[in-house]
Structures are given as structure tokens and as C-alpha cells.
Amino acid sequence: MRTIAEQSDALDARRVSAVELAEQALSRIDAAQPSINAFISIDRDGALQAARQADAARIEGRAQALTGIPIAHKDVLMTAGLRTTCASRMLESFVAPYDAHVVARLREAGTVLVGKTNMDEFAMGSSSENSYFGAVRNPWNPGCVAGGSSGGSAAAVAAGLVAACTGTDTGGSIRQPAALSGICGLKPTYGVCSRYGLVAFASSLDTPGPLAHDARGCALMLNAMAGHDARDSTSLDRPPTDYTRDLAAPTGPRPLDGVRIGLPSQYFGEGVDDDVARAVDAALAELRKLGAVTVDIELPAVRYSVPVYYVIAPAEASSNLSRFDGVRYGHRAARYTDLDDMYGKTRAEGFGAEVKRRILVGTYVLSHGYYDAYYLKAQQVRRLIADDFVRAYASCDVIAGPTTPTAAFACGAKTGDPVQMYLNDIFTVAANLTGMPAMSIPCGFGANGLPIGLQLQGNYFDEARLLQVAHRFQQATDWHRRIPAASEA
């Protein structure tokens, strides 16, 4: 009973209760903590209480699709009454006084919150090694990273601890760890999920989204998470969508007939490991078998995605993280002589090295004399990238390619060289810059047994189509059903 659908069926058939599911999840989590370190906080009492309520709801005939399903939230989302740390010493003891919007909606949908998952500090990273609470390990090989920044969420799903998690994606932080961990992760269109209660990293890029075993799981989670929130001025007010609607449609032998898959030359050149290229090619072949046609497209400006991202994201982050000053909450240095000393020590002690680096880069690109050359320039190139994608969608429905250039790398392999680390994001950041939806689905393994992800991107508000393509692929393949040896359960 790994997937949401399997657990939900079992609950409906009374083969298991929500309390039992929660107990099982909690004990698996405890067992896996020493080797994977996917969790920062575990809420046993809260989980069991929610599970009891879910069982009661089911008996009273009020069960919804997610009622009684244990899930976990990335520790960058506020969860009322529970510690919310962003994997930082700055918020090590901070208890959230309110629920993030997506957290509240998932509670209303009947999910059972078991705990908060580990991540890169303040969502800045691609490996979940930048955590005050220790790195997350890949369930497929604990000597390797699980990806980041939603590494804990990805590992928790991959290791079978919970059927689904929330994550957040600013430059690929849902999709990249999903790819490295062999599961599905979806970044919806910017504005579809409210950012209220998501501790801000880069406000114009941050997007909450689901991680699950399969497209159906992601769709069910998204149904609960999506929706307008008046407390977020960038939240979109659109008619509600049922993201599972295209998953049940009757199909023939060629269910993807008429779907045009764009293949940018920029995604299939140098810099991609052979393993990854092979797995992606095989996946494309499978998609063609299902009736899709592939179309060559060009995204000339996309090669500037990473530099654009590494101007905009740190700039916004440097401003967003100014509120962590030791005055009203969070860490404050124990000794200081005056106000500036208090600020300086508090922030030096509270933030890890990568966070400090990004704040300084952000401060630089916004500073007097550099704003035009860096920040303004980056926002202009961002427009060029977006224009490329909009143009491309005239000739295709979905854009495909590898999610990452390599499979999971060894812990510590890239921590010495930030630029090397940043290049992990080379295929993912564009979707954050444009705001368009994108997802990663497992499509194979490398020679070392580590998972490889296929990225599917779509035009604004085309999540349902992405999920449909992913679902049809998953009906014909079984990459999404593979289980890491260490976590057969």
C-alpha cells in the first residue's frame, strides 16, 4: 500500500484503519531516520488525533479521496502548533502560529500530517545537504544525495514512509529531488497554489506542489492544494479544476494520439550523462508508441536560464530574509554590544554558508550602480526566455527532456563548488522563470542503480495535460512502481 490510491482503497474496504496507517507510517519513519534523515519533526500525537478523526469521517460517510492518508509537509511550510524550521538554526525552535494555506486545505481534505520533512536551508540548494539538521540521504543509495531542496519530501515518498508529501519549487526543488529519488513531482503554474504560509525564498518563483509515487497521486494532492487565496496577492482566481479528470478517460492502444511533444535541441546536447540521455530516449520512444509525435523546437534563450535565476532568486531572497533579525522571533545571539552587533551576530550564527552566500549575491546585484546591469538585465532576459516558450507552444503541446543532467551524485561531491551545484538546475529553472507548469516522472535507472527522471513541461494552466501524459506513460511502464532495496515493506 504505497500509493494514495492503494491506501485509499484499503481504507474504503476496511482492510486497514487510518490510525493503523498512521502507526505504520510513524514506525517506518522512525526506522528510516538514522539512514535517510528525511524528517526534522515528527508529530505522533497530532497524527493519531487526525487519523482518529479521519476514521470517524469515513464511518459517517464523509470520506474524501485523501481522507486518512498520511502525508508530510516540507519544513518550509507553516504548520500551526508544530515546529517549522526551514532546516535552519535561525528557526530551530520556532513554532508556527498558523497554517499555510495549502496545509490548511490538505487538512480539510482529510490528510493525516505525520511530520515535517528535511530540506536545504530556506530552500536554497539542490542536494538537501545544506540543512542544519544534517543531510538527507537517497533511499536508493544512502551514500548519495536525495536532491534538493525538497529532498526530505522526495526521500520520504521514495522510501515508502508516506504516500505523498508537499514540496516547494523555486528553481527545480520539487522536480529535481523527485527525479533523483525515482518518484513524481509536480510544479504547478505559478499562482495556482497559494504562497501564504510558505516561508519566502524567491517570491516571484516560489511554487508549492505535490510529490507522490504517480501522476494520480500528484493529481489528488493538487486538487486539494490548488485554489485562490485572498491573503496572497499573486494567487490566481480561476474556476476550480479537477486535475484527475483526464486520468480516467477511456483509452485505446494509442492514448496519446494527437499529442505533440516538443524536443528542444538545447536539452539534448552536451552536458547530459549518457545514462540519462539513454533513459530519456527510451521514454520518448515509449511515448511515441503510445501515439505521441515528437517535434524539434528551439529555445535559444533557455541557455541563460541559470544565470538569470542566480540573479533574480538571490536578489529576492536577500530581501525576504531580512526579517530574520533576532528582534521578534527565531534565533538571537546570546551576547552582543549594540544593535548592529546583535544583527550581525544573530544572522551570522543563524544562517548557513549557502544562505549567506546567496544573501550577499542578492545584495550585490541590487546595490546602487549594479541594479541595471544585473537585476534589470536578468528580468529582461527572463522575458526573452518566456517568449521562447510561448512561441514554442504554437507547435507542440508538451515539452520533454531530462529533468537533470546526471543521476544522484555522492554526498559531498559538489558542496565545494557552488556553480557546479547550480548547474544541476539547468533544465528546471526555466519553468520557474516563466511560471509555467512542469513535472518530473521516473523513466529509468543509471548504471549505478540510481533513478533518472523525465521532465514534462506545459503551457500556463496545462497541468491536467501533463498529468494525463504522465499517467498514460505510467499505465504502460513500471518505473514508478520500483522500490529501493532498503525499503521493501
Binding site: S93, V95, P97, Y190, G191, S204, A230, S233, T234, L236, D237, A301, Y304, P307, V308, Y310, V311, D325, G326, V327, R328, Y329, G330, R332, Y336, T337, D338, L339, D340, M342, Y343, G344, R347, A348, K356, R357, I359, L360, V361, T363, Y364, S367, Y374, L376, K377, A378, Q379, Q380, V381, R382, R383, L384, A386, D417, P418, V419, Y422, L433, G435, Y460
Partner: protein
Amino acid sequence: MSLSTADIERLAKLARIDIDADEARDVRDKLDAILGLVNQLQAIDTTGVTPMAHAQDVMLPLRDDVVTEADRHVDYQRGAPAVADGLYLVPKVIE
């Protein structure tokens, strides 16, 4: 273009983050590398291109002018670093 330690010190001051000399050197090297990555953008011609500050062209929603928040200062100040008589305390600021 390379950053000097003075540049790093200025940035650290603006960002209110204490860094010592070793850290400053390490940060400078890493920042140089990052800016090397970022400087690629200078070569692109962006004449007449409107900057993209938001993912989509949406209008700013407006809130009606009504009070919707009750006093929750007890909750919010629980766990605050230094509070007395409802005030947050910081080292004395001389104006």
C-alpha cells in the same frame, strides 16, 4: 571583474551578517565564481525588452477597508527572544 575584500565587507554590512577574514576570503572566491556565471548576461542584447517582474500580467487585487484581525499578541510573543510589557526589546538605539 573581481570583488575585493572591501566589497565583501560592504555587502556584509548592508546585509547585517558578521563575517570574519577567512569567511570573507572564501565568500569572495565563491561570489566571483557565481558572478562569472552571471556575467554571461551582459552579452545579450535586450534593447526595448520589458523586464518581467511577475510570472503573469495580473492586476493587483484590493482588500475592503475592514478590520479582520484580532489581537493575538500573546500567541505571537510566545517564544520571542526578549519581551517586556508587550514590547519587543532590543539594545538601546540612540538617535
